[in-house]
Symmetry: none
Subunit: 203 residues, 4 copies
DNA sequence: GGCTAACCGAGACGGTACGTCGGGTCTTTAC
DNA sequence: GTAAAGACCCGACGTACCGTCTCGGTTAGCC
């Protein structure tokens, strides 16, 4: 039973123009300064067309996020068998990007958007790859016994990302080396391979 | 030799009224909806008096934060000798507060403010006590060899706080138990006391 | 071939409310005290709607003037064949009106408006009827040879009106009798009818 | 019994600086744009010093007017025995001055001031010399029987000045020749010398 | 020589209004 | 029925001045 109605259908052209304008303006101008009128103007679209399909500028940003319009994230974290090294290799360029004005401002904007729109927060870490990419690598590390069984991989990924957010919010510049060290600490002591099942038995 | 200037002096009454109104309105209405006009109205003050002394609403919030106008933080984390237990005891009420509408909204507001005003971000963790209180307890734990020497206590505190922020931004409700487990994991495996000087040297 | 534009059209309701509020407020409060915000408030209209169509409060007053919103001027100056008497009959109530607080203040306001907005000055005398009404009667007088041929009727009307303005600006109260006498003098000596063509040629 | 009190006396320096600044600013910026704060700033004076001695900016302008700070009026209207020619000679440069931007704007400003401050209106014509100078010349003309006895000389002078004001308010530029013609008409027909006592007896 | 008062500059204060921007809704015309 | 254009009411922006009020400092003139 397909739903059908008369009249023209949602304009894909308009949708694309709107989301594209949103992403561009957010990056260029920041969350404050991002306005519906500005988006409509840049997209060559009526305001009503935006309001018809999205409830707020937060919703627009959330959809941009889902569409991956902000980062072209490296789709994988390498797996050389050395978890700590892999994470360093993956994190280092991310941290450097976040030390550029663009990177800082983009993260600021996305965090600001997240405070107003639940949908942005819910997908923020995914957009950075911290969700799937990082967690997957951690899961592999557990399987490979580089991390103890029972490690809360998803949460650990979020903690790393949370630390990153806080670092950006609270300092003028991320101390890359210190941050990498912190991540290393959070993973716990580098030990001999964990026994398959038994919990770590202190001597 | 102090610098002299004749003429009237800054009104302490106005300052207090403005900061107090700012704190109240931020808690009650949230960061968006917080307006200079609203603050002026609530404080019974001219707008110019605000602009004369603060450059933005972000600066106002930052000063409120420094004045500790948002939380009456428990001034200590207990020290029973059991770090994990002490942290649980300290964190639990904080987490529950952040699960109330007021708590959630306040953290959202402060994070939003931090994205616009560096000063807010710089003092956010202090306001929550995550800086001094938490780090001090961690330092004591290092001294008591509950944590390995060389633990980056300050950063660890920030990581915990960052994880907390991210949890609030990305979920509708904090899973208190899971978060406490995460913190426990971040502290590393519960081990016998660390040797005084030598770091654990895995083979 | 009219120029087309899609979209909504100027609201006649808003226009009427704005001009009506302007006229009322100008009469009641005076030129200073007349504010765009006050007009918008009284008209139940957004400020932007005013700024969209008028450039200043002067322009608003000018339009009110053109619409004849300040005076319901007696549409004719009587013509009994006696110019001086007709002018007295027409001027007397005007002068008395200008001796009331309302009349004085209205003329003050219009003159003040004229100093800021050329359009007000250009139509001031019309609004008082000094332009068409008075000049027409003078023209008739020239035709009837009550005034010499070549009398600059338009300018004479303006001079009478100018004298009136100056009287109101410079004195607390118009001396009605003296003003009427002045007008009589300005018309020149009451003479026998002027010869049709030849100007009076004194020896 | 003189009233006396201790303490310093009104500062002549401040008075001069304030009036001078007022005159300069009025000429340069116009009545609107003339502000107490601006005057205080330009005069290097506290606002209170202005408010202590004058009740409004209108009062300041009135005092400037009395001090003759706006025009250096030709102190006499010539008397060649030919009234019409003398008036032309005196009026022509005045009219040309009022056709300059400065002149126009100054008259506009003074008229605007007059609408707010009775004192300005009361002395406006004096400042232009229309009062004493013009009326004196007219009086002399009556004495010389160039004008009929009983001519309301003061009022006639005001009428000329009023016509001038209206001309400036209502047109972009004064038509000098037409204005001079008007004045000539207002003086009445050029006749043989009036008989000393008898009213003009038409043939 | 001190005291007292009024003067002065400076400028903070509670306000009102400015002219602009953007929000979200509604209306009109065109496709 | 969707879309562009944009007018509408509204609320906030940050600024300019208002007129009042403290300040600290500086003169008079009288005890």
């Amino acid at each position: 039973m397909t739903e059908h109605r008369s009249g023209p259908v949602r304009s894909a052209v308009a949708r694309e123009a709107i989301l594209s304008a949103t992403a561009t303006l957010l990056v260029d101008e920041g969350w404050d300064h991002l306005t519906i009128e500005g988006i409509a103007r840049a997209a060559g679209v009526g305001k009503q067309t935006i309001y018809r399909w999205w409830s707020s500028k937060g919703a627009l940003v959330a959809e941009c996020l889902l569409d991956g319009r902000f980062f072209a994230v490296e789709p994988v974290v390498g797996d050389t068998g050395d978890l700590r090294r892999d994470l360093r290799d993956w994190l280092t360029p991310v941290l450097h990007f976040l030390n550029t004005p663009t990177g800082r401002s983009l993260l600021h904007s996305l965090v600001a958007a997240a405070t107003e729109e639940a949908g942005v927060g819910a997908h923020l870490s995914e957009a950075f790859g911290a969700d799937r990419l990082l967690a997957d690598r951690l899961r592999a590390a557990v399987a490979a016994r580089e991390l103890p069984p029972g490690t809360p991989v998803d949460q650990l990924g979020h903690a790393v990302f949370g630390a990153l957010i806080f670092e950006v919010l609270s300092k003028d510049e991320i101390d890359v080396a210190a941050f990498l060290d912190l991540v290393e600490f959070l993973l716990g002591p580098r030990t001999a391979l964990f026994a398959p099942a038994a919990p770590p038995a202190p001597a």
